[in-house]
């Protein structure tokens, strides 16, 4: 790990000022400390933001909730308001990481997680995230866990968060110090030819909280498929949030995890299903639609199985929430 100075922040504006000068924000540290130990992140200064007053879950005037960026993941999943009104969010968080990590990891840090692509972590491999323009060793490497949607020739990594998949399906909004809020679905960026640009944040900007809009009546589910029963990143996950009225789905939200560099909303599938009774045939068609744009390389596509896995998971999720 490179040497760095450590500064505990006492207020948000001084933290932002330090970051504007090149310091990196440190919260739970469950991702950043690891990346620093691997030499992937090399900040000269860390500004510890964990004592800033951004650790509350508050009711919003319109009936939504505001979750401070420094609320620990365990606390979000334990909060009764979240469990009652946004159960898909609690489920997604509990399906991620381990209890030890969730006790430490914050909501803002979860949002800012970097990919777990093995080539990103291996400094001897080509990676355009670490070294802009360097290419992508995963293209011709072991890419079984990699992306099938929104990829580019520069990067096929996936965003590792479970929480963000649920937030995408809940139409959450990200609040950022000193600028307008951003819908969560616009927060993360697809790689294009700049895979090192992972979010729409400018350097030094600080996520302060996440807003959940008022909960919709209806049902939701988070399903996750992984290589072992627990404590593993998703191969594919699905968050489905559906509002049923008189046997018809009047509002459908489907978000996928493990398939792209951002939580992936299946807008066309949602549209296809809205206003219908979610019968099996339509669900089948919608699942196909959701993966229509999936791309695997002609050769060396260890991840080709993910498209079918995602289709099946979408069908199972929708069959589960329609009753």
């Amino acid at each position: 790990m490179n040497p760095f100075s450590y500064v505990p922040a006492t207020d948000t504006s001084s933290a932002v000022a330090l970051a504007a000068g090149g310091a990196k924000y440190l919260a739970g540290g469950t991702n950043l400390v690891d990346l620093m130990r691997q030499g992937i992140e090399t900040p000269r200064e860390l500004v510890d933001i964990t004592r800033l007053p951004l650790a509350d879950i508050e009711e919003q005037p319109g009936g939504g909730l505001r979750i401070g960026a420094l609320v620990r993941n365990t606390r979000v999943a334990t909060d009764e308001r979240i469990r009652d009104r946004y159960p898909v969010l609690a489920q997604a968080i509990l399906n991620g990481a381990s209890p030890q990590l969730r006790n430490r990891a914050t909501v803002g840090g979860n949002l800012m997680q970097r990919t777990r692509c093995g080539y990103f972590y291996d400094r001897h491999s080509a990676c355009g995230k670490r070294d802009p323009g360097a290419g992508c060793a995963a293209l011709d490497g072991f890419n079984r866990t990699h992306a099938i949607l929104g990829t580019s020739e520069s990067c096929v990594s996936v965003h590792p968060s479970d929480m963000c998949v649920a937030l995408a399906a809940l139409d959450a909004v990200v609040n950022i110090a000193g600028r307008d809020p951003v819908p969560l679905v616009d927060f993360h960026r697809l790689p294009g030819d700049t895979p090192h640009v992972e979010t729409m944040l400018a350097p030094g900007e600080l996520v302060t909280s996440i807003d959940l809009p008022p909960a919709q009546p209806g049902r939701s589910v988070y399903l996750k498929v992984r290589d072992r029963a627990s404590y593993a990143f998703a191969l594919v996950s699905v968050a489905a949030v559906v509002r049923m009225e008189a046997g018809r789905a009047t509002r459908v939200r489907i978000a996928l995890g493990g398939v792209a560099a951002k939580p992936w909303r299946a807008y066309e599938a949602e549209e296809l299903l809205t206003g219908t009774s979610l019968d099996d045939e339509l669900i089948h068609q919608a699942a196909g639609q959701a993966l229509a744009g999936s791309r695997q390389r002609a050769h060396n596509a260890h991840n080709a199985f993910k498209a079918e896995l995602a289709r099946r998971l979408i069908r199972r999720a929708l069959q589960g929430v329609r009753s």
Partner: protein, 163 residues
């Protein structure tokens, strides 16, 4: 080198420390305070061998910078060994063959003791079953790997204490 000063309470004992800012809580315990009960497995938050209680909550001490623990209360396996809950769990691990090589055991015991407290505090799990079923115990201890595969013994030990 950039150094930091902090006051840290470990197992009820106060320490005044001056450390390199890079030192993890794990290395602080092992290398600076001589508390080698806490083990370094992967050093990247994947195995749980370094689990300790930080202000009462279980964390991976390899991913916590010591600098972040100013004025915190840390409990390690050495501290748990002199508590009733810790002793009971240790004895249950022995009785139920909850270990083979023993390297992951301090982390397993710390994690199990904290897990029971989390369960009492109604922290949910992804399994979501009523009561501390075997599936619940396995899920709630998923953050601690055992390469010897003593999981069935660990499960039996925790079940015995939970009962």
């Amino acid at each position: 080198m950039s150094s930091i000063q902090l006051r840290l309470s470990v197992n009820g004992r106060e320490h005044e420390l001056e450390l390199d800012s890079r030192v993890s809580l794990l290395d602080c315990l092992r290398e600076h305070l001589g508390l080698t009960g806490t083990k370094k497995g992967c050093d990247q938050g994947a195995c749980g061998a370094c689990t300790v209680l930080l202000d009462g909550e279980r964390v991976n001490s390899c991913l916590v910078l010591a600098a972040q623990c100013a004025d915190a209360e840390v409990t390690t396996i050495e501290g748990l060994a002199s508590s009733e809950a810790g002793r009971a769990m240790q004895k249950a691990f022995v009785r139920n063959d909850g270990l083979q090589c023993g390297y992951c055991t301090p982390g397993q015991v710390c994690s199990a003791v904290a897990m029971l407290a989390e369960y009492e505090a109604e922290v949910p799990s992804a399994v979501g079953e009523a009561g501390l079923t075997d599936a619940e115990i396995r899920e709630r201890l998923a953050g601690n790997l055992c390469r010897c595969g003593a999981y069935n013994g660990i499960l039996a030990a925790v079940r015995e204490v939970a009962r």
